[in-house]
Symmetry: C2
Subunit: 414 residues, 2 copies
């Protein structure tokens, strides 16, 4: 596959899934609901989407989604479609319209979910991809082994500038590698972006001058395109090493503009992901969705965490994280660093390592770090100890015997 | 309401809906999953989201979505939350994160859908809104009464430049007011954007010179921000009167950049809408979602059509269209012209008028116009006749007796 755009779906339909797949291909290329003049054989040969595969894997008796054509039973199938590059050209936004578009609304489908997408090689050349990824993030944070231990400024929103800078000072004194703004804190009047960068970077730079360790701060610059570019430049001028954007709020247009402009890692926040994914027979699976943001330049991307405070199961979290570490193209892997976050503490480190078999990730804890009963430094220590134990293959409870920060965390967050 | 951002949801939960609403408010403002230092009473007073209303309207015995905390029964409730403007400031992307964000993933919810949103007055001042809307579109098309009769270039994709220009010539000779690119046709190599604009505008301008009627063409400029700005300028230079963007593919960042730049009406295409809305207890309702694009500058927005080829029911289509014609602010109504499209023909005109009681809309037919058995001119005539009959309160079948184009359409598309 190098010249065609391909996408995999799971579908649920009361009609023959092969026929359903042909309807998908027609809707998303040269067909409409009646035959029209101009849809010649020559045009179809040039532009029609092709059904590459249809594999029925289940049959159910009730439809997953309302509104579809009904039947006695509904087949579930995995479908692969492909399109010639000539239809959408080399354009991420138009590729998105091509592989998703109106498909989710078509009458024969009581379920339709996009599970993967493969881009033609021309996309690898045309798009920036992550400029930093795992290696760049390790270089900028100085974390050569183990996960990058991160935290979120909490409360999410409401701090003044002074309070924010004070909290950041506490966090860096506590030994974190990485700090992010909450997605709810961008440029509100209590804590405006530009002044926050100045105040926070003063603390970060002072600490770096004293210790040689520059903590990475993901400043949430979510906003309009020109704002984001200007904010990026401000962070860069102050010696900052990361910017953050809520990708569903800025959209592909926003992230592409930032991705082409950036000289810093982009920390991509997926808030809103639930509305795209929460129903298992609707919307997007993470690996497909993430590839758009990876090509657009996301260096870090949130994947939730094990035993999280949300509805997502652990298997889905691991599949998402692994997908980010799987190359997209032979010559341009577009590796994006997974960010484990949401209800994380020392408790989940062992299982996360057991399943990921790598520490090429950001492990971010908010309450699970600053809420440690012995304070922030103990919170950070508990996370590092938990990961040391995991990498060494030592049960956390065993390692905790002579690592009191870990012991207290296991107790507090059990 | 002028200083707070408000949002209405329908939720489904096994816990007390009042408690569930407090969890929503906490997650989307100053709370996290454990108490953290810094979340003082003063901070909460400044920044906590408030639960404004909780109204239980139903109880069900099975959860709508998997993954949630379970119970014996699940209450459905309508919830209103509000946030101080100080949290997110005047920023559409950050308002989107605030009202949607992580809410859809929270454990206590087996259903959560955003049904409406009300912006503080400061948003009316800060954002462009539709620059043309209904009045501007009527002025530019010269359609002073009745709906703007539109069509889509079909086949959707695959035509060469010459074929596209020939088809446009046929459509304008047939008498249409409005033509749009299909959302699948943007800048593919068979029909690149810039050359298409030149070729199509030559036909449009020739016809305007001869007849005084300039047909509006919505050129699909979907792409990256700088591309879209440049393409807009090209359309303007060639005397074009409309541009089109797929809003879910360019995102708010994309549409805001275009909305601030544009000197032409923006035809906003909602493809992808199904993944945001198809499950009735998940995602977005149209009125809430549309307000973001209206503020960002959408002059036209697709609302599907009655008896469409998709899964959406007629009530939902009408509610969507009516929402666009309902003012957002007293001093800045942000009226966006609804575009009825998808399987439309003369057949649905009467019912559309009966329910809308206005002709301030674009009525777009693809196959239902060019597929008319007597050709394009008859297709256009059949639509105009169907709307004349509807406005005059004459049954279409009666009016068809001495209007053969309508008669043939009612027969062909029954």
């Amino acid at each position: 596959m190098s010249e065609r755009l391909e996408a995999d779906y799971i579908i649920e339909t009361a009609i023959d899934p092969r026929q359903a797949a042909e309807i998908m291909a027609g809707e998303q290329s040269s067909g409409t609901f009646v035959a029209v003049p101009g849809e010649t054989e020559e045009l179809k040969a040039r532009s029609a989407a092709q059904v590459e595969a249809v594999e029925i894997y289940d049959t159910v008796t009730a439809p997953s989604l309302p509104g579809a054509a009904t039947g006695e039973r509904y087949a579930r199938a995995r479908v692969t479609l492909s399109w010639p590059l000539g239809n959408m050209g080399v354009s991420l936004p138009n590729a998105m319209t091509t592989v998703s578009g109106n498909l989710y609304e078509l009458k024969p489908f009581s379920g339709l979910r996009l599970v993967d997408v493969r881009f033609p090689d021309a996309y690898a050349e045309a798009y920036p991809g992550p400029r930093f990824g795992v290696d760049g993030t390790r270089r900028l944070t100085g974390v050569t082994k183990g996960p990058v231990i991160g935290t979120i400024i909490k409360p999410s929103v409401g701090f003044s500038l002074t309070q924010t800078a004070e909290r950041v000072t506490e966090l860096i004194d506590g030994g974190v590698d990485f700090i992010k703004d909450d997605e709810l804190q961008a440029d509100g009047p209590h804590c405006p972006f530009d002044a926050r960068v100045e105040a926070v970077m003063r603390a970060i730079n002072d600490h770096a001058d004293r210790t040689g360790k520059k903590v990475m701060v993901a400043f949430n610059l979510t906003g309009e395109v020109d704002e984001m570019r200007a904010r990026h430049d401000l962070v860069l001028r102050h010696g900052g090493t990361c910017v953050m954007a809520s990708v569903n709020s800025v959209g592909l247009g926003g992230l592409l503009a930032l991705g082409r402009h950036t000289q810093l890692p982009i920390h991509a926040h997926r808030n809103g992901w639930g509305y795209l994914s929460r129903h298992p027979m609707l919307g997007w699976s993470f690996p497909a969705w993430a590839k758009f943001w990876r090509l657009a330049g996301a260096d870090h991307l949130h994947v939730n965490g094990l035993q999280n405070k949300f509805c997502e199961g652990d298997d889905s979290v691991i599949a998402a994280a692994q997908s980010l570490l799987t190359p997209m193209f032979a010559d341009k892997p577009c590796i994006t660093m997974p960010v484990f976050s949401s209800g994380q503490s020392a408790v989940q480190a062992a299982e996360t390592y057991r399943r990921m078999q790598t520490t090429d990730l950001i492990y971010a804890a908010g309450g699970g770090l600053v809420g440690h009963p012995d304070g922030i430094a103990a919170g950070v220590a508990s996370l590092r100890q938990a990961w040391e134990a995991a990498e060494a293959g030592i049960p956390a409870e065993t390692y905790a015997r002579d690592h009191p920060a870990l012991a207290r965390a296991l107790e507090a967050y059990a």
